[in-house]
């Protein structure tokens, strides 16, 4: 943002550094106003001197001596980034970045490193971002040698111990499970995904499945591919003598000579605009968190300075911006609302307006925001606004140099991204030249409200006016987290053949494949004893299936529940508390029911969408592309199913043990089974009647009582 970048101090001195005129008699302090103040010039800025050189192995080094405090710190910047992660291993860079540090080295375990570093209050941390990676250290001067040695060890010979990988994967499973808990991060995340495309390297996110795919071997391969001397810029600053530090670094890295091809180019950002409103429903919040915008630009765009000025006036400069004045000060509708022209060094950034307001005022707030966008696109800003925006940047320019580390960091960053060393000064020159006409021109050219994507996370039931009243197509965002795919035992031609044999044996035992294939619809009535309730609770249930439709009725002491699923996500549910559309978890349960329907399940070897794999002498696992699975264990004597394991409610593993097999219309079916969920007895089911091919109709199944 602009507080980081500004106009030359020189300009600032010219504007404000005139010798104060002979002072009038100053009014008493209480009467004085700002106009009475005269500011002297700032002392001349001394830019710290950075020593740069390249080691024989190709690593570029930057040194900056600074003896203010007894501290030394450094950072290696590595040309890597999560945009290079394979799609099916999204998250690889996150795992790599952390385990590089925690997973130990060839000579020390991660725990030993932790004890050593924390014992001397030193820090080494590693991180991989979108398009660059870093590993840095920070230590008291007295421990510089030891910390540098350790830093090099971690950088060059990491061990990626499996236990630390496992711990971190478990942590990330938790991160995935928790990603819908806080509304503001949901809004940011979904906006970014829409901006860059949810399947592109710039927009995709880690899922349980991609996390599972990451192996220790991947981490070693990652390290080999990206962590080599010529791919690294190393900067060190603090309490040392430059010559001595140079000698130390040359010696330290003399034996690290590995070479690799340069890092691959970045994938392009190709996403098209996705105009419209996208609503993520979250009923436990009373504010709507919104993001509004489209793709933006890069720092080397010719209009970048004018865009920053425009954005500062619109919403980028805090309290003084138009958005804050309008939505916060004028209307009292938000604690914060801001805009960002988030230009990036090496790829297209975003333009985004963010804020939150109470549910009721969602549409009013977004309207007010859109009004401000329209205003800056249609009328020139005032002289005063332009002056304030420019002066703020010019006068705060000195903060770009208030610590030597900022100067060093900037130098390395510009080098890394291939920007000129004086980029900041070029920017300041461009900024000083920006006119009101420029601001209007870039607002018109670069802000395209007709292409705006609106992401709103909130409770639509409490909106005073619905989002539709903004005249935008409203689409729902499904926040459902894709289930972790179960680790499946490896399948080979042999195990698949044996799986088919076992299933064919079952088909014969129950009456033949032909009988099973002839089943068009299927129903059963059962008595149920729920064992999870203390003392047990009795219920009756009726299940009727006409694939892919399922109707299910359960009568409990306190009332009846009736569910109809059309097999495509639609349907309804009617319970003691009223009727409504099917909640997602019930849709899933209905689909599970369909997947497990006996006759079709037992013919899975004839279904091209399913895989039947022998995983034991008398056990097969049946899976489909949708992540459904069931394991059937056969009685070796009868060939009938003795037991099954499957995904139960809440993903806990469930088990059913079958008995009382009797023939119904030429097919042997179990009339009694018990279910355990998560190892605990859950229900006993006794079938009172099976009905096969009774000409069920969709109308019958879908009819509401």
């Amino acid at each position: 943002m602009t507080s980081q970048i500004g106009v030359a101090l020189l300009a600032c001195q010219m504007a404000f550094g005139q010798a104060a005129p002979a002072r009038r008699a100053a009014p008493p302090a209480a009467m004085r106003t700002v106009k009475d103040l005269k500011f002297g010039p700032l002392p001349e800025l001394k830019l710290p001197e950075v020593t740069t050189f390249t080691l024989a192995n190709g690593m570029k080094v930057y040194l900056l001596e600074n003896h203010e405090l007894p501290l030394v710190r450094g950072s290696a910047r590595i040309r890597a980034g999560n945009v290079h992660d394979p799609a099916n291993k999204t998250g690889l860079s996150d795992i790599f970045g952390e385990v590089l540090r925690t997973g130990g080295t060839q000579s020390k375990t991660g725990d030993q490193l932790n004890e050593m570093l924390e014992g001397i209050a030193a820090v080494i941390e590693s991180d991989v971002g979108e398009t660059s990676a870093t590993i840095g250290f920070n230590t008291l001067t007295e421990h510089t040698g030891k910390v540098l040695d350790t830093f090099k060890e971690i950088l060059t010979e990491p061990a990626f111990s499996q236990d630390k990988i496992d711990i971190l994967k478990n942590q990330y499973r938790g991160v995935i499970a928790r990603r819908n808990d806080q509304p503001s991060p949901i809004a940011s995340r979904e906006f970014e995904r829409l901006m860059y495309g949810p399947t592109t390297p710039w927009g995709r996110q880690m899922e349980y499945e991609t996390l599972e795919n990451i192996t220790r071997g991947d981490l070693f391969a990652y390290h080999k591919r990206f962590y080599f001397p010529a791919n690294i810029l190393l900067s060190v600053q603090g309490d040392f003598e430059t010559a001595a530090m140079r000698a130390q670094i040359e010696k330290l890295f003399a034996d690290w000579t590995v070479k690799e091809a340069p890092a691959p180019p970045l994938p392009p950002v190709l996403q098209k605009a996705v105009p419209g409103a996208f609503l993520a429903s979250k009923t436990d919040v009373n504010q709507t968190f919104f993001r509004l915008g489209h793709l933006g630009g890069r720092l080397d765009d010719k209009d970048y300075a004018a865009l920053e000025v425009m954005n500062d006036i619109l919403g980028g400069a805090g309290f003084t911006s138009r958005l804050m004045k309008k939505v916060r000060s004028d209307m009292g509708l938000a604690y914060g609302v801001s805009s960002g022209w988030n230009a990036q060094f090496d790829h297209t950034g975003t333009f985004v307006i963010s804020g939150s307001t109470k549910s009721e005022s969602t549409v009013d707030t977004i309207r007010a925001v859109l009004g401000e966008v329209e205003r800056i696109r249609s009328t020139e800003v005032t002289d005063e606004e332009l002056r304030v925006a420019k002066d703020s940047t010019i006068n705060s320019f000195v903060f770009n140099f208030d610590s030597p580390s900022k100067t060093l960091g900037r130098l390395v960053t510009y080098d890394y991204f291939g920007y000129p060393k004086d980029f900041l000064f070029q920017y300041q020159k461009a900024l000083a030249a920006v006119t009101k006409a420029d601001v209007l021109r870039v607002a018109k050219q670069y802000l395209r409200p007709e292409e705006f994507t609106l992401v709103a996370v909130g409770n639509p039931a409490e909106f005073k006016t619905p989002l539709e009243s903004l005249n935008l197509p409203v689409k729902k965002i499904d926040l459902t987290i894709p289930e972790p795919k179960r680790a499946q035992p490896a399948a080979s031609a042999e195990t698949l053949a044996r799986g088919k044999q076992l299933l064919e044996k079952l088909q014969q035992a129950v009456g033949g494949a032909g009988k099973l294939a002839a089943v068009r619809d299927y129903s059963h009535n059962a008595d149920v004893k729920l064992l999870s309730v203390p003392g047990g609770m009795k219920a009756t249930q009726v299940t009727r299936i006409l694939p892919p439709q399922v109707r299910f009725e359960q009568k409990l002491p306190f009332g009846a529940i009736l569910v109809y699923s059309d097999g495509k996500g639609g349907g309804w549910l009617k319970g003691p508390q009223g009727a409504g559309p099917l909640p997602p978890q019930v849709v899933r349960q209905a689909n599970d029911e369909l997947f497990r329907m006996h006759p079709a399940l037992w013919l899975s070897d004839q279904n091209p969408d399913r895989k039947v794999n022998a995983v034991g002498p008398n056990t097969v696992e049946i899976t489909d592309a949708g992540g459904n699975w069931i394991k059937l264990e056969f009685d070796p004597k009868t060939g009938l199913v003795a037991k099954s394991n499957f995904r139960g409610p809440d993903n806990s593993e469930s088990e059913a043990a079958y008995g009382d097999w009797k023939e119904v219309d030429g097919i042997k079916l179990p009339h009694q089974w018990t279910i355990q969920i998560g190892g605990k007895p859950a229900a006993e089911i006794t079938v009172t009647e099976y009905k096969i091919n009774t000409s069920l109709t969709v109308e019958e199944l879908s009819k509401q009582p």
Binding site: V34, L71, I120, A121, D181, D284, T320, S392
Partner: protein, 501 residues
């Protein structure tokens, strides 16, 4: 593995000496003085770059809110950047009249509402309409954000303010040649704040509460923990209860200001490229006329003794979390240093006991942390623990695992290498903190106000150096008492019957 010995070989004395040296060096850079009206200044000269950070620290926080007016200290904090009688207005005389009329109408409205069922709805509705009109009229005189604009265009950065249970702070940084601007504006605001846009700002604060507390499971848990641990002491809520916020008045805010913002109850710190002689002269010029007032009353309510564990649940669809804390004395208590060492040993970095056992060994937590003083240092508060269970792991398992550690640290002493590590970390933390003007300014101010001397920043380290393993065990045994524990857990909302097929 010679390096694992370092912690044991570096005797604590070495660090103690260094801390003392640090203090001696540091003292040379500090100038402090009080004006005759009692306003205290601390100036840290650090001429590394021509910038300066300014912190105004007022010894008043949400604990000073009175019943029915919770949120007032925070609300007043929001008013500080609204301008002065000459900045932010197009016509102060008229604006002032209108602001007064708002209060008169509001008084009448309150009087009508106070009648309860015997009041007149029509009269109240009429007054409400008058009130709205008067507020709109006053807004007509406002020059929006004039104060923040002035600071920004002069190159000011990081302008903000914060309220805690203990204190209210106001801060920003300027190029050093513009320091006088801070003197001018701050002296005006603290001589005569204006309650400009008070009722719009009240809506903003209400939105802030929605954002921080009502739309956040963690926010709800934090506030609930405070409320369940403290039934009497006014640290139950920081931002204030919704209905209290919605009823706050400009005149309350002004009275609160008059009572608490007296010179002897504030300290101002300047850190950076500042000439202490000039600073002193400017301080005298601008702040001498701040009127003195009686020293504000201290909070006298003490929390009654807790007679048993308190366990509260919060229903939320969010993933599970547990927060719990034990009552502990204020930071001025002699046990403070040992409690800090204990919190570090339990919770710092990747070697802390909680991380090693719950995250790494048992793999039952995503995060498990301890904090020595939540949410106050000035008053008795809580030694807090929090944990986020791993997928498939429960709150119960997490609580049990933490309690096992709690029982262990009450019985067994930590090893010397752990103590040495913690002490090294604390000392290094102090050195690292010296790199930031703003960070230093805050530290100097809070140490001065909480302990009467900024040197406490350094002497606290000497206190930490003296802590023994037995001290750590003893304070755990003394303060980790079940009857003094309050715990807040999340719980999934009772599943709707339709959904529990």
């Amino acid at each position: 593995m010679h390096w694992t010995w370092i912690g044991r070989l570096a005797p604590a004395i070495l660090s103690a000496v260094l801390a003392a040296q640090d203090l001696k060096e540091f003292e040379k850079k500090i100038t402090e003085f009080s004006l005759p009206n009692g306003l205290h200044f601390i100036v840290l000269r650090r001429p590394l770059a021509p910038v300066v950070s300014m912190v105004t620290y007022v010894n008043v926080g949400s604990a000073n809110d009175t019943s029915g007016k919770t949120g007032l200290a925070h609300m007043l904090e929001h008013m500080a950047f609204k301008g002065t009688d000459s900045l932010g207005t197009s016509n102060w005389l008229e604006e002032k009249k209108t602001l007064a009329s708002i209060e008169q109408i509001y008084d009448k409205l309150e009087a009508e509402r106070n009648k309860g069922p015997r009041g007149s709805k029509e009269a109240a509705a009429k007054l409400e309409a008058d009130l709205k009109a008067a507020i709109e009229k006053a807004n007509g005189f406002v020059v929006k954000e004039a104060y923040s604009t002035l600071i920004q265009e002069n190159g000011g950065v990081g302008m903000n303010a914060g309220t805690s249970v203990d204190s209210t702070t106001y801060f920003y940084s300027l190029p050093s040649n513009r320091l006088e601007l801070w003197f001018l504006l701050t002296s005006k605001v603290f001589r005569q704040p204006v309650m400009r846009e008070f009722y719009k700002e009240r809506d903003v604060v209400r939105e802030e509460r929605r954002m921080r507390i009502e739309s956040s499971a963690q926010g709800k848990m934090q506030e609930t923990l405070q409320m369940s641990a403290f039934l009497a002491h006014p640290q139950r809520t920081l931002i204030g209860f919704s209905s209290d916020i919605e009823g706050l008045r400009a005149k309350d805010s002004e009275a609160f200001f008059r009572q608490h913002y007296v010179p002897s109850n504030m300290v101002m710190v300047l850190a950076g490229d500042v000439d202490p002689v000039k600073a002193r002269a400017l301080a005298a010029t601008y702040f001498s006329s701040l009127p003195t007032g009686p020293t504000p009353p201290r909070v006298t309510t003490e929390e009654p003794k807790q007679e048993g564990e308190r366990r509260i649940t919060i229903e939320t669809p969010s993933q599970p979390l547990i927060f719990f804390g034990y009552k502990r004395p204020a930071a001025s208590h002699p046990d403070d240093a040992a409690l800090n060492v204990l919190a570090n040993a339990l919770s710092s970095g990747r070697t802390g006991t909680l991380y090693k056992e719950l995250v790494e060994q048992k793999k039952i937590s995503l995060a498990a942390l301890a904090s020595p003083n939540f949410a106050s240092q000035k008053y008795p508060g809580l030694f807090m623990f929090l944990a986020a269970p791993s997928p498939g792991k429960t709150i119960d398992e997490n609580e049990k695992a933490i309690l096992e550690i709690v029982e262990r640290v009450k019985k067994e002493k930590y090893g010397e290498e752990v103590l040495s590590r913690v002490k090294n970390q604390v000392r290094a933390g102090l050195v690292r903190g010296l790199e930031s003007n703003f960070g230093m300014a805050i530290q100097l101010a809070s140490n001065y106000m909480l302990y009467g001397d900024w040197r406490r920043m350094f002497t606290a380290i000497q206190e930490i150096e003296k802590v023994t393993a037995e001290d750590v065990r003893r304070v755990a045994e003394t303060h980790f008492v079940e009857a003094q524990k309050s715990a807040v857990f999340t719980k999934a909302p009772a599943a709707k019957k339709e959904e529990s097929k």
